[in-house]
């Protein structure tokens, strides 16, 4: 996030002079340089912005879509509910990354925008289930019944009464979702199916890193550590939120 303030080197700047490529970590380049002589620290930090933006951005869209689908399914029930939940079953019947790869193949050429589309298209199921469950149980609660008796229409009830009470589990699921989005994006980019050069991505950097694993291991080490720490932090935050919001998870 703070990449522009933290580093002097342009992540895309290619060092002049042949001696600078794949340089070991030094004071000038704490993480070393890559095959084109670009400063790795700068690249890792800038790629972090991309990764975090994708993780959060996808999750916001996923949460919106999942909320709408989950609320509609849980609150109205009936045939609509059946259709939506069977769809969820089918999407969840796929190992997620495999289906994501299959969806990427539909597009003519890969890119980060496609990754966003694919992750949103596949990611909503968890949230939809969580929200649906909450909506189902809340629908019959006294205060919702009371609101209905007072003449509130469905939309008011959903927005004012059902949604706020589903917020806790939603928040936990969404936080954990950010981490898995970031891993999925890195995985797809690593396979060459996500971010394309010159777009920065930890996954794409790791693909470079593999090429030079024996001659310049630092190219592979640092982006991976960054990804690991980011995901670990987000997962811990999610676990913490769960402990905080859901009394059942207390030991």
């Amino acid at each position: 996030m703070f990449a522009p303030v933290l580093v002097r080197h342009d992540p895309l700047e290619i060092a002049s002079g042949g001696g600078m490529t794949l340089e070991r970590p030094t004071a000038a380049h704490p993480f070393g340089t890559d095959a084109l002589g670009r400063d790795l620290l700068a690249r890792v930090l800038w790629a972090g912005r991309v990764s975090l933006a994708i993780g959060v951005g996808v999750e916001v869209l996923v949460a919106l879509l999942g909320c709408v689908i989950g609320l509609v399914a849980g609150y109205y029930g009936g045939a609509l509910d059946s259709v939506l939940m069977r769809t969820t079953d089918v999407v969840m019947a796929f190992p997620s990354l495999v289906l994501a790869i299959g969806l990427i193949a539909v597009f003519e050429r890969p890119g980060l925008d496609k990754v966003v589309i694919v992750l949103v298209a596949l990611g909503w199921t968890t949230i939809a289930r969580v929200v649906r469950g909450a909506a189902l149980s809340l629908r019959e609660r006294d205060y919702v019944q009371a609101a209905r008796a007072l003449g509130a229409d469905n939309r008011t009830i959903i927005v004012r009464h059902v949604l706020p009470n589903a917020l806790g589990p939603l928040l936990v699921a969404a936080t954990l979702g950010i981490g898995s989005n970031m891993i999925a994006e890195a995985g797809l980019s690593f396979l060459g199916l996500g971010a394309q050069s010159p777009t920065l991505s930890w996954g794409a950097m790791l693909a470079d890193g593999q090429t030079f694993l024996s001659s310049a291991p630092w190219v592979a080490v640092f982006p991976g550590v960054a990804l690991l720490l980011a995901v670990l932090g987000i997962n811990l935050l999610g676990d913490g939120l769960r402990d905080l919001l859901d009394p059942r998870f207390h030991d």
Partner: protein, 312 residues
């Protein structure tokens, strides 16, 4: 097996059928969306009229979508997944050729995750709150958060590139040395979950009355742990192994790419790069159906281990 048990098993199997159909429908729609113009799909640059005609015929492209799905399903029922654009061979043949490598890797990875995971969990549960417990649980959380392909690269860096103990990549004609690193990598993701689950359920079990009774009988701790605790703790662990299937199948394309393992995952990734749609869709379909069936088997195993689930 009693009649009720048969009915329960039958119910589980029947519940899977609509999901399996949904899976084929979704793959078909993906295929239809990707095909778009068959001339473009068949190699793009130089569309051989003969190939285009065959695709048109194979996919019944002149007819409505429902008829296309029917034709596609009829071919699928015969085990026909179409022809690869890139290799000029039947997709089914290519997939069958690659499947054993992935199966071997998946089994080895499961073995790693269960053995190491249960050991870690049991060790941690012996003295809850101790340093050993904390270190093991921290390792487990770390393992769950580590991107599988990066872990593979790091293991390869340490054990293959630096120490030279194991080969960097490849299949090596099927010897075990080539299997170790990919299996550990693919298994690692899941080892953490198994360890956490084992620890949790062991702690739960050791609090039960029958454990106190067995201890009062004077049974030695290891006997106690293996005979009484582990067996009862096995039920949730089986569930976790089932959930782990997803990790295995998600990790397969990544792990196989890192270690140049000639399995289905790498086939899928390569086929996307070559825009070889029949192979892509065939591999996606096989992965999904394997996942559905494996989940069903885990479900049924659950019925076998835990008599209580049979009653429902």
């Amino acid at each position: 097996m009693s009649l009720t048990a048969l009915r329960v098993v039958g119910g589980r199997v029947a519940a899977v059928v609509p999901v399996a159909f949904g899976v084929t429908l979704l793959v078909f729609l993906l295929n239809a969306a990707a095909l778009g113009d068959p001339a473009r799909a068949a190699m793009g640059q130089r569309g051989d009229p003969e190939v285009i005609a065959r695709i048109r015929r194979d996919y019944a492209l002149d007819r409505p979508l429902v008829a296309q799905y029917g034709a596609w399903m009829a071919r699928l029922a015969r085990g026909d997944l179409g022809h690869s654009y890139h290799q000029q061979r039947a997709v089914t043949e290519i997939i069958l050729e690659r499947a054993p490598a992935t199966l071997r890797l998946a089994l080895a990875a499961t073995l790693v995750s269960v053995l190491v995971g249960v050991m870690m969990g049991a060790l941690a549960a012996r003295r809850p709150g101790s340093l050993v417990d904390h270190v093991i649980m921290a390792t487990a959380v770390l393992g769950i958060s580590t991107p599988v392909f990066w872990l593979g690269m790091m293991l390869s860096l340490v054990f293959a590139v630096t120490l030279g103990w194991l080969p960097v990549s490849g299949y090596g004609g099927g010897d075990w040395q080539h299997l170790v690193l990919p299996a550990v990598t693919l298994g690692a993701l899941h080892t953490g979950s198994v360890a956490r689950m084992t620890r949790g359920s062991l702690l739960e079990v050791t609090r039960q009355d029958y454990m106190t009774a067995a201890r009062a009988k004077g049974l030695a701790e290891p006997v106690l742990l293996i005979k009484h605790a582990l067996r009862n703790a096995a039920i949730p662990v089986v569930t976790v192994i089932g959930i782990g299937l997803a990790d295995l199948l998600v990790g397969a394309p990544l792990t196989e790419t890192v270690f140049a393992w000639p399995g289905l995952g790498r086939l899928l990734v390569a086929a996307v790069g070559q825009r070889d749609l029949p192979v892509v869709m065939g591999a996606v379909l096989v992965f999904a159906l394997v996942y559905v069936v494996a989940n069903l088997l885990v479900d049924l195993a659950y019925l076998l281990i835990d008599p209580r689930t049979r009653a429902r």
